[in-house]
């Protein structure tokens, strides 16, 4: 990392301003950042999209979403190099990806996956290569200021992704004429293969489109935080001043006195800030890795020189501060409010709570220092509460969840086997709703003068057979006549004759309220046995949709 080549104006910004800066950086390098995210993610997405059944294709998008911490690393690596003037190509960055992906991979895609400050934390893992306690301490320092902004960044861009996805779907919906049976809800929740795959591809595209902004904005937040902590902006400014002064000194070496004292003072101040910078780095236990873009922060000969002159500088500063300039006394008269001593704030925390927390802290401090701070204890309790809440929700809605899972699996089986409907035209078409021996039952009902019930049963049983065994697909809008025509179109003479005759008998009893002759019904019963009680080898009507 060479601070002199940094391509942004080095100054400390507010968190939102830093996010704006990240967005601008993403816009400037969008194509490369996009490719570095999109190209590694695409194979996984395509493989899952092809391998999974169409109704499960959303899982492909979910998998890509879950592995986002990996896909975001390429753009981050690229942005970290570009920021400090290293013109890396996409192909060169792509070659680095395997080694970048290996860094702390397990934690990134498991317990840290759902961290809201992921984009802000990622540079610590990837660029500083910190792990374990060192990482936690470093994050503790970094998170003191902009952690809420980084969380909001994650939430906002998640919504942007969803808005993009919904916007494209809505656009398509708007372009579909009103009278079309397609509706937006169907697009979102469709089990239809092509619609499902299409909406999954849209989801993936939305993630790829937003990812460069997310990574760059998180990185800008991180850089901004380091500028604030380590005074990069001041360091860079002093370096520039020192450089300019060096050039001037060479030209005006004959001059002396006050003209040389000012640069000396600045140099001293610069040295002080450098030392402070080193101290803050040392305090955070940063381990600088050889191939890290951030490795070149220290140990230049120029700085070592400054370290040797630090005591002299401190002495000089003390002398200047003790001089007359800082000790001028003057008397000023005028009206002003009296200064009253502020009332002492009463600590409202009860003693028992303090004692309880202290005892807890002592208790947890025994666990290898994992809960050494009060924040650690609170975090532990929050996690316990969160896990408990999830368990409670699962337990409370266990029946609903079970029903949902069962319905999904049932739907899957149904989709795969294109099962016939259980109810159509208000008729119960389940096998269990029909008696074992249809003709006998029909004859029995007929003899009891329950003519409508008898023919209704025969018609329902025939429909059941036509749908389940002959593969006919009748729609809700089909009348009895339409069904009979469809069977006639199929071409089986005996079946179509039977259906036509049965339909006429049924229509007579249902709509004319007259009963057909006994012989006609008896004939229908006999034909029913011969037509439907033999095994059907082929299903000629299976491809015939109404």
């Amino acid at each position: 990392m060479n601070l002199d080549k940094i391509c942004i104006v080095p100054r400390v910004r507010g968190a939102w301003e830093a996010i704006d800066l990240g967005i601008m950086l993403a816009k400037a390098w969008y194509r490369d950042l996009f490719l570095l995210w999109f190209l590694p993610a695409l194979p996984l997405f395509l493989i899952l999209l092809i391998a999974l059944p169409s109704e499960w294709s959303k899982l492909a998008a979910f998998a890509v979403w879950w592995f986002k911490p990996l896909w975001d690393r390429g753009p981050l690596h690229y942005a970290s190099l570009k920021l400090f003037g290293d013109n890396i190509s996409v192909s060169a960055a792509m070659r680095k990806l395997p080694s970048i992906y290996k860094i702390d991979i397990l934690s990134s895609i498991t317990w840290r996956r759902l961290s809201f400050a992921r984009s802000f934390n990622m540079p610590v893992t990837l660029l500083e290569r910190l792990t374990g306690k060192a990482r936690s301490q470093r994050l503790g320092i970094l998170h003191r200021d902009p952690s809420s902004a980084s969380s909001w960044l994650t939430i906002t861009l998640l919504f942007v992704e969803l808005f993009l996805y919904a916007a494209v779907l809505t656009f398509l919906f708007v372009m579909v004429p009103n009278y079309s049976p397609i509706n937006i809800a169907e697009l979102f929740n469709s089990q239809d293969g092509y619609l499902n795959i299409g909406s999954t591809i849209l989801l993936f595209s939305a993630m790829a489109a937003v990812a460069p902004f997310y990574t760059a904005a998180g990185f800008a937040l991180y850089i901004n935080r380091r500028m604030a902590l380590e005074g990069w902006d001041i360091e860079i400014r002093f370096r520039q001043l020192a450089e300019n002064q060096g050039k001037l000194s060479a030209k005006t070496s004959s001059k002396s006195g006050i003209t040389t004292s000012a640069p000396s003072l600045l140099l001293c101040l610069f040295t002080c800030f450098s030392l402070w910078s080193f101290d803050s780095n040392a305090g955070s236990d940063i381990t600088l890795i050889e191939d890290s873009p951030f490795e070149q922060t220290t140990d230049t000969p120029e700085k070592i020189t400054h370290i040797h002159n630090a005591k002299d500088a401190e002495k000089l500063i003390t002398e200047i501060l003790a001089g007359e300039v800082f000790h001028n006394e003057s008397t000023v008269s005028g009206w002003r409010f009296k200064d009253f001593p502020p009332e002492e704030e009463i600590d409202e925390s009860p003693e028992w709570l303090i004692a309880f927390l202290k005892s807890l802290a002592d208790f947890f401090s025994s666990f290898d220092g994992q809960f050494s701070s009060l924040a650690g204890i609170v975090e532990f309790f929050i996690w316990v509460l969160a896990i408990g809440f999830v368990i409670f929700i699962i337990y409370h809605y266990r029946h609903a969840l079970n029903a949902t899972i069962t319905s999904i699996s049932t739907k899957r089986i149904q989709t795969n086997n294109t099962p016939p409907p259980k109810e159509l035209f208000g008729l119960d078409l389940r096998e269990e709703s029909l008696p074992e021996d249809i003709p006998s039952e029909v004859r029995s009902l007929w003899q009891k003068d329950e003519h409508r019930a008898a023919l209704s049963l025969l018609y329902r049983a025939s429909l059941y057979k036509l749908i389940h065994e002959w593969g006919f697909n009748f729609s809700e809008g089909d009348t009895e006549g339409d069904c009979a025509k469809l069977v006639t179109l199929q071409g089986d003479a005996s079946l179509s004759d039977y259906t036509k005759h049965l339909t006429q008998c049924w229509q007579l009893v249902a709509y004319a309220h007259r009963s057909p002759e006994n012989d006609a019904v008896e004939k229908l019963c006999q034909q029913w046995s011969s037509l439907f009680e033999k095994p059907t080898v082929e299903q000629p009507g299976a491809s015939h949709n109404v």
Binding site: P177, N178, E480, L508, H513
Partner: protein, 343 residues
């Protein structure tokens, strides 16, 4: 093949009432008359069997019909032929842009000789009225038909004059896209029991028709020499009365209402069919059942009649019109989603 051919008559049933034989006899006679009428018209208007069936249904249902088609397809011939087959009074009005309402209904004039007002009845006082190219007259003139179509009477100088029974207006119109035409007002459209599209005949029928006219079997205007009326007005009225006796099951009635209401709920339709459409649908379905030879209405009758009854009563949404969909296409989509009755 027509729908009538596809739907065979009902199987033999056990008589349920003592008067069933009389009813069967009446229906058999009615069926004979209708078959003769159909045959007679089909002989002259070749290749339009479905149109002929629909116009007979409208006649039996005691409604008025609007026949639409491009010029030269026999719209006027169809109506003239029907008039020839029924021995009633027949009038024809050629609608033109300068036609006045009084030219249709008639007017009162002062007789100088007798020094009193005399009523001169217009051509509307007839049994069958052919309103040829009705959409060539402006709305004011078209509106002259409103009262007579609904109430079968004409008000002249404050006096209501009944028109003879049976009364039927058969209007023809060219597609409104053609120059010099005016769209019919909605209130008038709603008074037509059905709108019949007349389309080009198929190849075989067109060859047959050309051969019949050029060989002198039919004259150039389609009339058959020495043709006789098949029905008189009394028979016509009795047939219309018989239609009212045809049974409509509750399920079938509800199905008709559901179909009508579905047109009001579809986003593709800007204005759905009215309650009058629902009543007309039942009447037409009854007539169709009679044409089929049955004394009860099937859901198939309702479904078959739904499009002709509703196609002129609905207004399509703008985007649907822009996409070039016809009312029949939209109605077919709507009806496909309406559950048909079963039990």
């Amino acid at each position: 093949m027509t729908d009538t051919d596809q739907t065979p008559s009902a199987p033999a049933s056990t008589p349920s009432t003592p008067g069933a034989d009389d009813t069967s006899k009446r229906f058999a006679q009615a069926n004979e008359l209708i078959q003769a009428l159909t045959k007679n018209i089909n002989e002259r208007l070749i290749g339009q069997t479905e149109v002929v069936e629909q116009i007979i249904i409208a006649l039996l249902a005691n409604g008025h019909v609007l026949v639409e088609g491009v010029p030269g397809l026999g719209k006027t011939l169809l109506v003239r032929t029907l008039a020839d087959c029924i021995s009633g009074a027949f009038s024809r009005i050629q609608f033109t842009p300068d036609l006045m309402p009084a030219d249709i209904t008639g007017h009162v004039l002062y007789d100088m000789k007798e020094s009193k007002f005399r009523l001169r009845r217009g051509p509307i006082f007839t049994n069958l009225l052919l309103a040829d190219e009705i959409n060539r007259a402006p709305a004011k003139t078209q509106a002259a038909l409103l009262e007579v179509m609904q109430e079968r009477q004409v008000t002249l100088e404050g006096n209501s004059q009944k028109v003879p029974q049976p009364f039927m207006v058969m209007a023809t119109q060219n597609p409104v896209e053609q120059e010099g035409t005016y769209p019919l007002p909605e209130a008038e459209l709603d008074r037509f029991i059905m709108k019949i599209y007349i389309d080009y005949p198929n190849l075989e029928d067109e060859i047959l028709m050309t051969k019949a006219v050029t060989s002198g079997q039919l004259d150039s205007i389609g009339s058959v020499p020495d043709s006789e009326a098949v029905l008189d007005t009394e028979q016509m009225l009795s047939l219309q009365a018989l239609v009212s006796d045809i049974a409509v099951d509750e399920q079938v009635l509800q199905y008709a209402v559901r179909l009508t209401r579905a047109t009001r709920e579809s986003s593709a339709i800007f204005r759905g069919a009215s309650s009058r459409a629902c009543i007309a649908l039942i009447r037409c379905a009854r007539a169709k059942a009679l044409l089929r030879g049955n004394d009860y209405v099937l859901p198939d009758d309702i479904k078959a009649m739904a499009a002709p009854v509703m196609r002129h009563r609905i207004a399509l949404a703008a985007e649907v019109e822009i996409d070039g969909l016809s009312p029949d296409q939209v109605l077919a989509q709507v009806f496909a989603g309406v559950e048909a009755p079963r039990l």
